[in-house]
């Protein structure tokens, strides 16, 4: 990989300009496997930065999805003072330290910006129940375990499943898969009854008419109104609250630098990712993946993180997922 960076650096050339700028290729650290939502987002950013010449140094995506993403967190923690690594984080930064006792605290990293919020949708097989009400009734009536697929254990999908149980009184058997893509195909193949995938993870199978979105876990509907399938747009999916199940959950997508970098270095990346959110690539990606655009930095970001952390912590505690 090092050799690759050197090669890439040599290809792109490195003229020096005033103000702090990375002098080495920059690594976007992905806390998930290849092809997952974080990886896709990182590659979108890589392409947006490169195509619009937002930075002189090349940018490389480095996948550190080992141990359900804990590898990336420990990697960032141990890279203190290195301004050439940016983590693309999601709610694992709150959850993993609680569930698996990973010695990590996001406050040790340098926050750059929150770049998007990801939605969760309740999906079932297109041959299954057509509304949330029917779905809940089917789950309650099922004699065999009613299977809910999701990514990983004691994480967002699992927490949401526990909350669905609490709000509806139905009982689910949660099957933890390695990725959202796997959870999607397992639902299509009828090996599970439902999943709570992010829009991007189920997009293609929805378009192919193999799964049905039942409701979205947000207080308002998704804003995008252009047709995704032949008849429906993201905005046509009702909220779970509308359907009588008051469960809400959004997941952050945020950029972090390692701890102990200078304010100048932090400022460079705040500016860089602000520019990224202005590109056509970013906007197109947000709409395609049905993400909520947002840009928070500085004090606003820290406040957001603290609140989000507190909420996740209480959810995890209530679900009984906090390791003793």
């Amino acid at each position: 990989m090092k050799a690759a960076m050197a090669l890439a650096a040599a290809l792109c050339g490195t003229p020096a300009v005033a103000g702090w700028e990375p002098a080495k290729p920059v690594e976007i650290v992905v806390a998930a496997g290849a092809g997952g939502a974080s990886d896709q987002m990182a590659r979108m950013m890589q392409a947006a930065i490169q195509k619009n010449n937002l930075m002189k140094q090349p940018i490389v995506v480095s996948l550190k999805g080992g141990a359900s993403g804990a590898e990336a967190l420990m990697y960032m923690k141990s890279s203190e003072g290195d301004p050439n690594k940016v983590l693309i984080a999601y709610s694992l930064i709150y959850m993993l330290p609680l569930s698996a006792k990973i010695p990590f605290n996001w406050r040790e990293l340098t926050p750059v910006s929150v770049v998007a919020l990801d939605q969760f949708v309740l999906w079932d097989n297109s041959a299954g129940p057509k509304t949330v009400k029917e779905f809940v009734a089917a789950a309650k009536a099922a004699s065999a375990p009613f299977k809910m697929g999701g990514t990983g254990s004691k994480r967002e999908d699992h927490v949401l499943t526990v909350f669905l149980e609490q709000k509806t009184g139905a009982k689910f058997s949660y099957l933890p898969y390695k990725s959202g893509g796997e959870a999607a195909t397992q639902l299509v193949g009828n090996h599970t009854e439902a999943n709570v995938n992010n829009p991007s993870e189920n997009l293609e199978v929805w378009r192919a008419g193999q799964v049905r979105p039942l409701c979205v876990f947000d207080k308002e509907r998704i804003a995008y109104t252009s047709k995704v399938t032949e008849t429906q747009s993201w905005a046509d999916i009702p909220t779970c609250k509308e359907e009588g199940v008051d469960v809400q959950y959004l997941m952050l997508r945020a950029m972090f630098l390692p701890g102990k970098v200078t304010a100048e270095q932090q400022a460079f990346y705040v500016d860089l990712f602000h520019k990224v959110t202005q590109t056509a690539e970013y906007k197109e990606y947000m709409e395609k993946q049905a993400l909520k655009p947002i840009f928070l930095t500085g004090k606003d970001m820290v406040q957001f993180l603290e609140e989000d952390d507190a909420q996740n912590k209480s959810l995890m505690t209530e679900a009984g997922f906090v390791a003793k």
């Binding site: 990989m1 050799a3 804990a70 420990m74 375990p145 254990s153």
Partner: protein
């Protein structure tokens, strides 16, 4: 013959000077990364991915997939010459390929490997061309019980059909399973056997283990015995190549069987790795003299290579049709596709015909061009064996270390690799086979997850493994293979008593 028309259209898209040139560049780069142990396909494709951002999607994917084919071909080179498998599926190629190289038949082994790779890929591409829609619906039939049954089949075929003493296979496999448990457990979300060390969080990377077990231990053994690679200067010429090709028809059963296994396991998402092992084991089982396997038999190269490439190629199908990558390299390709706004999924075949058929056409062309390229360079690779060991050994160790480091950019992995080198050396000395160990290390986690997910889904009922025809027949086959030596013995005895009885009858009749 809609597929045929579309394929021709794909060729039209491809056959421009620019694309053919990109193809050659991709193949050469691919062979290059394939030859460096540990660098391998996934890393090579990942490194070169950004180079393609400025190209149009078709050119880009042609170049990337050619790197993929190149790496697949290249992986066989190190397996045969140095006993260091580049990809997970090259492990079985070392069993007979390396002994052949030691006997001075390196060129023959390389030719056999390349040719059978080509045949395997070709069969798989034909399958993709004509059966793509059907196969993707087959892959959807695989839920946790089906996945577990396939892994069980692989493990059982190893124990039941292996040449080594059964208890040694089981010991080796159990150790592998134990090490596979290190790291995050997906099903419970807890860490296991990490002892608070952040380095162990990742678990043991398969490739790091393989580079050590096979590569480093081989260097240690060679150093102990004598300071020379045991290969002689192989006489390489068109004659060797033609000689191997002339004998090909003799092995048609093996080639066909391995192609079939490869295709079948390749389209089973994630099953590609098991294919080469199974191809090898079955070839051995059905051979008249199974004892000669592992001692440099050309069939022992044909069988795993054909299966590996059939599965490596057909693994692209679940990636395109379902978005599930069948191998590490396919996963990186998947990331690449998304950058160009092509979302793998059931609609890719409908909405991006140009792209899909361009890619399939590039599989045909890439393989033909690749075969010619590697065959013409065989002399160069085989001549490495003529370099004195004292000069080559340090280079191999360094390249192993770079490979182990590059996988996860971790210094710890180099120590781990050296540790596995010593383990491999000891195993070889006390006659414990390495293959079951590596197999368990690769598939252990997946088998465990699949088993536990099946149990959650069925409420703990083992009958789930016989709940439908597909999973039931795979599970039953697995158990038959596990007890094959016993069953085989019984059958033989039964046959003998039958014969004895009819013999007696005949005598009485007279």
């Amino acid at each position: 013959m809609e597929a045929f028309g579309l394929l021709l259209h794909g060729f039209v898209v491809l056959l421009t000077w620019k694309t053919v040139l990109l193809m050659m560049v991709g193949l050469v780069l691919g062979i290059f990364v394939g030859v460096l142990p540990g660098l391998g396909g996934p890393n090579g494709v990942a490194i070169l991915l950004p180079l393609t951002f400025t190209m149009d999607p078709t050119s880009a994917i042609v170049m990337l997939s050619c790197i993929y084919w190149g790496a697949l071909f290249g992986g066989a080179i190190t397996s045969i010459l140095f006993n260091i498998p580049g990809e997970a599926w090259s492990v079985a190629t070392t069993f007979d390929g390396y002994p052949m190289a030691q006997q001075g038949r390196a060129a023959e082994a390389l030719t056999a490997a390349f040719t059978s790779s080509f045949i395997g890929s070709l069969v798989a591409v034909l399958l993709i061309t004509f059966l793509a829609p059907m196969i993707s619906s087959f892959a959807l039939k695989f839920g946790p019980p089906e996945f577990f049954a396939v892994y069980l089949l692989t493990f059982c075929s190893f124990v039941g059909l292996g040449r080594e003493a059964k208890h040694k296979t089981v010991i080796s496999m159990s150790l592998g399973l134990l090490l596979a448990g290190i790291g995050m457990d997906t099903v419970s979300g807890n860490l296991r056997m990490t002892f608070g060390s952040p380095e162990l969080l990742r678990g043991i990377n398969f490739l790091v283990a393989v580079i050590g077990l096979f590569g480093i231990s081989e260097i240690l053994l060679t150093m102990e015995e004598r300071l020379a690679l045991r290969g002689h200067a192989a006489s390489i010429s068109l004659r060797v190549v033609l000689g191997v090709w002339k004998d090909l028809p003799k092995y048609w059963v093996t080639l066909l069987r391995s192609s079939f296994i490869g295709c079948w396991l390749g389209i089973t998402p994630g099953g590609a790795i098991a294919a080469s092992f199974m191809g090898y084991n079955l070839a051995k089982r059905f051979a008249k003299d199974p004892e000669s396997f592992g001692k440099g038999r050309i069939e022992g190269v044909f069988a795993p290579e054909t299966a590996a490439h059939a599965s490596g190629t057909s693994a692209l199908l679940p990636m395109l049709a379902l978005g599930i990558p069948g191998s590490g390299t396919a996963a990186i390709l998947l990331g690449g596709l998304m950058v160009w706004g092509l979302n793998p999924g059931p609609l890719l075949f409908v909405e991006h015909k140009d792209f899909v058929w361009g890619l399939i056409a590039s599989m045909y062309l890439g393989n033909v061009v690749g075969l010619v390229l590697v065959l013409t360079t065989v002399p160069i690779f085989a001549s490495i064996l003529r370099v004195p060991f004292a000069a080559v050994a340090p280079m191999i160790v360094v390249s192993c270390a770079i490979g182990a480091y590059a996988i996860q950019n971790a210094m710890f992995d180099i120590w781990l690799m050296l540790g596995f080198g010593i383990v491999g050396y000891v195993f070889k000395k006390i006659g414990i086979p390495l293959a079951p160990f590596t197999l368990a290390l690769v598939l252990g986690n997946r088998a465990e997850d699949a088993f536990r997910l099946s149990m959650i889904g069925s409420g703990g009922d083992l009958k789930v493994f016989w709940s439908n025809g597909l999973v039931g027949s795979i599970t039953t086959l697995a158990i038959v293979l596990l007890f094959w030596p016993v069953i085989d013995g019984l059958l033989r005895r039964f046959g003998q008593t039958q014969r004895a009885r009819t013999g007696l009858q005949q005598r009485l009749d007279q």
